[in-house]
């Protein structure tokens, strides 16, 4: 029925497919094709090398951790921004998008300036024996920074539309606030929280510009996978670089898929609470 009334299906589909094909799929096909230039044995040798594994572990592990931090902090920040009125609220609300807009290289340099041993915060933290810049902690910090807006911005509209009467009803039935939050609000928020988590994760996995300034880039310690790709390129090893790029792409795709499945499950979990 709809299709007959509303125009533009053919045009929309044609244009979308052509554009996506040219801008996204064709280039990624080139990537996969280049990666296939490596034989299976060589591919395995590359991906199973301890250094590659360490870098992948740091990129994916760090991104998972950063996305988790962002999920918690983002939930807190979104909650406070939506529910409470306090001086400077508008300013902070506007600043949330800063990591989207600030060039990653600038973010990297600024974070390093802050957390280097002689930086504004680095010196102070150093007196407690905490080193941030040039350690995996620095990598984590940069990843938290670039992924931060995703969780807050996905949660905000949902929190705004959340009906307060559900909470009030629960409270009037004698539930404590903490119970209300855990049993009523959290299940409703969970699908959205997972969306934000997935986006923050995807962003952090591939992040390069801000991380290399603060990471220290020691192999098998603070070296991220995109840096390995760059190193392969410096040695004219296009196939190796493309193989690593493809592997990362597939892995993030698998992660995103897992999150989507989790999300479906959480939707079902949220239903009874409605």
């Amino acid at each position: 029925m709809r299709r007959r009334i509303l125009p533009g299906f053919g045009l929309g589909l044609g244009y979308t497919l052509a554009y996506l094909g040219l801008v996204v799929l064709l280039p990624l096909a080139a990537l996969a094709w280049k990666a296939s230039g490596l034989g299976a044995a060589e591919l395995w040798r590359l991906l199973a090398a301890p250094r590659t594994l360490a870098a992948l572990k740091l990129s994916f592990g760090g991104a998972l951790l950063a996305a988790s931090v962002n999920a918690l902090a983002g939930l807190l920040v979104a909650w406070v921004l939506v529910r409470y009125r306090f001086p400077g609220r508008r300013l902070f609300d506007a600043l949330i998008d800063l990591p989207f807009a600030l060039p990653t290289a600038v973010a990297g340099i600024a974070l390093t300036t802050l957390y280097a041993p002689n930086g504004w915060l680095g010196g102070w933290l150093g007196t407690f024996g905490i080193k941030v810049a040039y350690t995996p902690l620095g990598v984590l910090l940069a990843m938290v920074f670039v992924g931060f807006p995703f969780v807050v911005r996905t949660l905000q509209p949902v929190l705004e539309s959340l009906e307060r009467d559900v909470e009030e009803a629960a409270e009037s039935l004698g539930a404590r606030r903490r119970q209300v939050f855990v049993r009523v609000i959290l299940p409703l928020l969970l699908p959205t929280l997972l969306t934000g988590f997935a986006l923050a994760l995807a962003r952090a996995v591939g992040e390069y510009g801000s991380v290399i300034f603060i990471a220290g880039n020691l192999p098998s310690y603070s070296e991220i996978a995109p840096l390995l790709i760059v190193q392969k390129l410096e040695q004219f090893d296009y196939a190796g670089a493309a193989a690593l790029g493809t592997a990362m792409l597939l892995a993030s795709f698998a992660l995103l898929l897992a999150v989507t499945l989790l999300q479906r499950w959480s939707h079902r979990w949220a239903e009874p609470a409605r």
């Binding site: 041993p117 040039y134 290399i212 040695q235």
Partner: protein
């Protein structure tokens, strides 16, 4: 020509104006620490060319890590000349047919109009008492060097350290390997480029000693304060020979070969050599060497050809995937 009369006329008109006053543009693709050098060289060369030929030459610059720059040229960056950190990078361009493989024979002195060496930059007063290579692996000493995989300067650093350990009395391959292995245990940060490493050492205050190009160390001292840093010359180091070459395929396509060749020859001229010395590179000509002797520390040097048999061999032995650096570098 018959098919496109308008285009042909246009081209002819363009050619006519070009004959009157030829505006030539050259693209020089270079590595990171030559920014200041070529800023001066370009100005002087353009003035000279204008005086001699009446044409305006504009020289555009592209700077970056030496390896990345070489790759960009093979990917289509239209460089007329390349002025890179090490011969291997230009070899890689030659391997892909952009210039003949014997490019190093086309200009004097291995096509390196200037040299440098690897020295130590330490903090004022040399608090850790760094005098020579063995001091770098004393407990508690932190060494800053960039990653040899991504930085040309870092490869010179690596080879300087290896060569020292090899050539000192009683040195051999196994001892060199053990020394360099231990040296990288003292590296807390591995930047991707020479400039990044300098920034980490100078701006971030990380590390006790920076392994650096001599020209970079002198420049850093000048730009960032003579009072905060000292240069320590080791007893033995490597003679770094950054090479230059015309990229034949591009220069012929752009019709800029004559200017490009003159540009590189200018580097060997007295004026060029004076600029080279002013920007802290070691000049080649005897006269310029004598005049600038005071500004450079005395260092005994060996060349890459003597100790390692040239860049191709050094690259394959130390820096290729799975080679010695991967075996004994940090994180190994």
């Amino acid at each position: 020509m018959k098919k496109y009369p308008v285009l042909f006329a246009l081209a002819a008109a363009l050619a006519a104006t070009a004959a009157a006053a030829k505006d030539v543009t050259l693209l020089n693709v270079s590595y990171d620490p030559t920014r200041e050098l070529y800023r001066d060289v370009n100005k002087a060369f353009a003035a000279q060319w204008k005086a001699q030929h009446g044409d305006d030459v504009t020289i555009e610059m592209s700077h970056g890590g030496s390896g990345k720059q070489a790759r960009s040229v093979t990917d289509g960056l239209p460089a007329d000349v390349v002025t890179l950190a090490l011969a291997w990078d230009i070899d890689a361009i030659a391997d892909r047919g952009y210039l003949p493989k014997d490019w190093q024979q086309r200009l004097p002195q291995h096509a390196s109009p200037y040299t440098s060496t690897i020295v130590f930059l330490v903090r004022k007063g040399n608090p850790k008492g760094i005098r020579d290579w063995p001091d770098l692996i004393r407990p508690g000493v932190q060494v800053i060097t960039p990653n040899p995989k991504t930085s040309g300067g870092a490869r010179w650093n690596f080879l300087a350290a290896w060569g020292y350990a090899l050539k000192r009395p009683g040195g051999d391959e196994a001892k060199a390997r053990a020394y360099v292995h231990e040296l990288f245990r003292h590296v807390p940060v591995l930047d991707t480029g020479a400039r990044g490493a300098t920034n980490t050492f100078v701006q971030r205050g990380v590390g006790d000693v920076l392994l650096a190009w001599e020209n970079e160390a002198l420049l850093a001292q000048q730009e960032l304060g003579k009072d905060s840093f000292e240069i320590v010359a080791p007893s033995l180091s490597i003679l770094a020979e950054p090479p230059v070459a015309v990229v034949d395929r591009n220069a012929d396509k752009h019709g800029t070969r004559a200017v490009a060749e003159a540009y590189l020859k200018f580097l060997y001229s007295p004026e060029g050599q004076a600029i080279v010395a002013k920007r802290f590179y070691r000049p080649r000509s005897a006269e310029a060497v004598q005049r600038s002797a005071a500004q450079f520390p005395k260092v005994a040097t060996f060349t890459i050809d003597e100790v390692f048999g040239g860049w191709r061999q050094a690259q394959a032995k130390f820096f290729a995937d799975g080679a010695i650096f991967d075996q004994i570098g940090p994180g190994s």
